[in-house]
Symmetry: C2
Subunit: 117 residues, 2 copies
């Protein structure tokens, strides 16, 4: 996902708040299936109106998506937006010397490998 400066600013702004950062990290570990709003609220410890405010902020920023399922609304993280954000931040980081940002690639690859059996 290619990202504009405005989109990146909105994403970073969304991630710079404690409750919202916890929500995103929770949804990242939850995977593509996502979680219901109520379950998210219990886990991160937020009242319903606060949670709604933060979830719509995250959705506005394009970091999560929602779908209705019975009475619940299920939120899941938008992985392409996260990838795009990382790519936007690190764009042209190497100046011809991949060794410079190699550790960043390794860190991400490691964190993914750690999750597998």
């Amino acid at each position: 996902m290619k990202m504009t400066e405005a989109q990146a600013l909105a994403a970073f702004s969304a991630l710079s708040q404690e409750t919202r950062l916890r929500i995103i990290r929770l949804l990242v570990t939850a995977g593509p299936d996502g979680l219901a709003a109520g379950a998210i609220g219990e886990t991160v410890g937020a009242s319903s109106s606060r949670l709604s405010f933060h979830l719509s902020h995250l959705e506005q920023a394009g970091l999560v998506q929602s779908r209705r399922e019975a009475r619940s609304i299920i939120y899941s993280v938008a992985y392409p937006a996260l990838s795009g954000l990382v790519a936007f931040l690190m764009r042209d980081c190497c100046q011809g010397h991949p060794a410079i940002c190699g550790p960043a690639v390794a860190a991400l690859a490691d964190c993914c490998a750690a999750g597998s059996p």
Copy 2:
């Protein structure tokens, strides 16, 4: 670089401001040698006091480091902090299925490969 929630919040907060995001992206492309404060100010279009405010905000968040060189102060990006931030955000993203966050790894690897000859 291992990162706490508080450090990550400070980093995202620092990146959620237009001038500061431009500074970081400029320094990412500038490489380890960095740039003098004056040069940064001219490129991103900021007055001296505004620039100083934003640079110290970034340094406080651990995203840049500074050193004096003659009359100038040279700022450079802290690559380990960026790597750590990405790893913090994507931690446990795979739930045993690396395919989920594979695109994020690929996006970062590609952006680095693009910079090489």
